[in-house]
Symmetry: C2
Subunit: 243 residues, 2 copies
DNA sequence: CGGAATTTTGAAACCTTTCAAATTGGGTGG
DNA sequence: CCACCCAATTTGAAAGGTTTCAAAATTCCG
């Protein structure tokens, strides 16, 4: 695992993302850079914020990947969401869902304390947009698990990751590096590793994606999005058979 | 549908919930009461906040039930979450860049503008806790869809509703009133109506629940929770979610 | 009272999981 | 640099859980 440096080894993923999200001012960038310099390293497989943790102040993922995990009593495990470089953790003010989940490092992760929103112009806005995005993606995850079949889930998730990594400057049209194993993919998608493997093979056979451990290539993202009907905005207000 | 008055006909569900969430002061309560007086009615099946809507300021559901819905191109539909009396909508501040969920009224809904957080002591705290709870329940929904089977999903959702309705003073140990049809249940749980029906029958046969349109009775909530391995959702170690 | 919505039933098809076990790939120590 | 070990990926066959497609039975509401 982690053949190539974990996506996001570039120290600027956080700067890039927050800049694009609304904090492009030199002051904001320099304050963020200072925070990055104070980043801590969490080793792979270690907890970043534990369940029932006193969950310190908000932090940002500078490099590496993490996952918000929920464990069931009998051992079943669900990755509620994936965290990539540039993502913020523990926003939402004081009370953050405690008992609800744990965040663990999927790769080695560098995590920095998040500068106070008032420290520079644009920061507050960027944090707000980041939080809104997080919530939107969480809702996407619900729809993905609730109504998409295995093939669609895989394609949908990869497209989402491509989207998010691109925002952080960590992906290009040809694809992106990822530390995800098929087992982790299964944990995110609510499937078994075996089935993820089979569907992944099918997707490769159909020429939709290329998957070699450590790197994903989306042959034609737009065509794929069309194929599974991933149209971010839709929802017409009043459909005939609606409630 | 809606044989008995929709759960939450009581005008105080919002007061009860926010009071317990951190805004028990007389000032806060009276300001909230004033807002409730200015509530608008949204008729059943109508949109409360549309996608791309200018989504005005935050509002609170005074009475009635609603659902956050996501529609797929081919007609598949997923209820991302259910909204009950006392729940807040449109917090999170700014815009929702990504989008794509609509909130529709499942019953007739009374919705009031949310007083400014600074208008009274405790309001800000209550809003924050409410937002945290919403996020926690959203994560629960992900786990529910990702790792629970149909039987478990049904039990888990009913327990969650019982929990939330109790917080708003709308449920007792014997159960609660609900406008949900089996089809809506299917939309929340990512299942087909037919299968929900069969599993519901099974749950009744096993004596876990009683379901007659308009009212759910959880025969032994604690035993049921134990049976499916569910832990109540909490947001802060100190905040008693157990009413 | 009658039409519409909701709940129920049945049987068969389908997708996903299970349970093993084999294979591949990479990293480590000799 | 090769052998070996462990993690990750693959493969097979069979069991299971859910969906589909119809259609009947109930219940609700105007």
């Amino acid at each position: 695992m982690t053949q190539e440096r974990p996506t996001g080894a570039s120290p600027s993923a956080l700067l890039t993302r927050l800049s694009r999200l609304g904090a492009p001012s030199p002051e904001a960038q320099s304050i963020l850079a200072a925070a990055i310099a104070r980043a801590n390293v969490v080793r792979i497989r270690r907890e970043i914020v534990g369940e029932g943790d006193s969950l310190g102040r908000p932090r940002a993922i500078v490099s590496g990947w993490a996952a918000r995990v929920r464990l069931l009593q009998d051992g079943r495990r669900q990755f509620v969401s994936l965290l990539i470089p540039g993502d913020l953790v523990g926003l939402g003010g004081q009370p953050d869902p405690i008992a609800s989940s744990t965040v663990i490092a999927i790769t080695e992760v560098a995590i920095a304390p998040l500068p106070d929103a008032a420290a520079a112009p644009g920061l507050a806005a960027a944090y707000a947009v980041s939080a809104a995005l997080e919530k939107a993606y969480l809702m996407s995850q619900v729809t993905r698990l609730g109504r998409l079949n295995a093939q669609e889930r895989i394609a949908d998730l990869l497209l989402e990751l491509s989207e998010r990594l691109t925002l952080a400057g960590l992906a290009d049209i040809r694809g992106f590096a990822t530390p995800l194993t098929q087992e982790m993919l299964a944990d995110v998608l609510g499937l078994t590793p075996v089935h993820v493997n089979r569907m992944l093979q099918m997707a490769r056979r159909e020429g939709d994606i290329e998957w070699r451990p450590g790197r994903v290539t989306l042959v034609d993202p737009e065509a794929l999005a069309r194929k599974i009907g991933r149209t971010p905005v839709r929802v017409s207000a009043t459909l005939p058979t609606d409630y």
